[in-house]
Symmetry: C2
DNA sequence: ATAAAAAAAGAGTCTTTTATCTTTATTTAA
DNA sequence: TTAAATAAAGATAAAAGACTCTTTTTTTAT
């Protein structure tokens, strides 16, 4: 659905916005190791997000990435738009050149509702919502090795 | 969601299984032109489907691709499995290495139901169902230029 | 037998996505 | 004012997906 890159972006932002993280800066190495994302790749993604104003950064010693005033209120769709573009919601499921409700493919009606639901979810969910889930211990940004080993 | 290749596969099979098509053979060139899919690329895809027994083919003059006894009863999930594999339904939305319901990412609960619904739809829908939609004039395998021009 | 038609197979290209490595620019602190 | 830390940028590469071109094999019809 959304690209791996876009998932990295969302996880990176949420990491910065977590309650215990949001008042300090984080170097790219720290974020990448914590989230288990290739460092320089994540670097470029976060740089994009800085340009878009979704997060901030400063260079130099004690520099790093950090949240700004709008970060936690950013709807996920804005991140998706920044990274993947909204075109991902407009592709025909069967690979036709266009998706059209007046000239639909045989899967259009089956899945169009689902696609709209996903789109709306991305519109409604904000970074803050994901942060809450994690602060509550309901979900996790990286795979928890403890869970994997406690067989 | 599913790959472009997989969409091509489904459209190719459905084309062969349409009421007016199902009693004769069709050359790859004819199919590719009709569906507007790159010829040799579609050729390879259909060859895969022949190996899987989903459709049949014979070489030589008057040869081509054609439906067999099981074609119309093939559930779409079987085509998806053949082309993309079922792994596409098991990837974490946020690009973590694994998707886990005991150690979920913050989008897991939001979208897992939707993903299951899509999976079940692919399990339940058969080629015959798509053929019916097209025979009824409810949907189309290729973009209809008439629709595009009749502004 | 031979030629032609068609799928099958092989090999290669182009593009996009994902990832790595290296260099540069900026900032801080000593 | 120099060294170190760090983001930013640039260049390259690896992998996957999508597509093309060429050759081979099989079959049919003459
Ligand atoms: S999804 Fe195929 S036409 Fe809309
Ligand atoms: S979708 Fe992310 S853990 Fe399941």
């Amino acid at each position: 659905m959304i690209s791996k890159t876009c998932g990295y972006a969302i996880r990176g932002i949420v990491f910065l916005a977590l309650e215990q993280n949001k008042h300090r800066k984080h170097g790219i190495l720290e974020i990448a190791e914590d989230l288990q994302i290739p460092q320089h790749f994540l670097g470029k993604i976060l740089q994009d997000l800085v340009r878009r104003g979704i997060i901030n950064s400063i260079k130099g010693p004690h520099g790093g990435f950090f949240v700004n005033a709008k970060t936690i209120d950013t709807p996920l769709i804005e991140v998706v738009e920044a990274i993947d573009g909204l075109g991902i919601f407009k592709k025909c499921f069967l690979g036709r050149e266009e998706c059209s409700s007046t000239n639909p493919c045989p899967l259009h009606d089956e899945f169009d509702g689902c696609r709209s639901a996903i789109f709306k979810t991305f519109e409604n969910l904000k970074i803050a919502d994901l942060v809450t889930k994690i602060d509550n211990g309901d979900s996790y940004l990286s795979l928890n090795k403890e869970f994997a080993t406690e067989i």
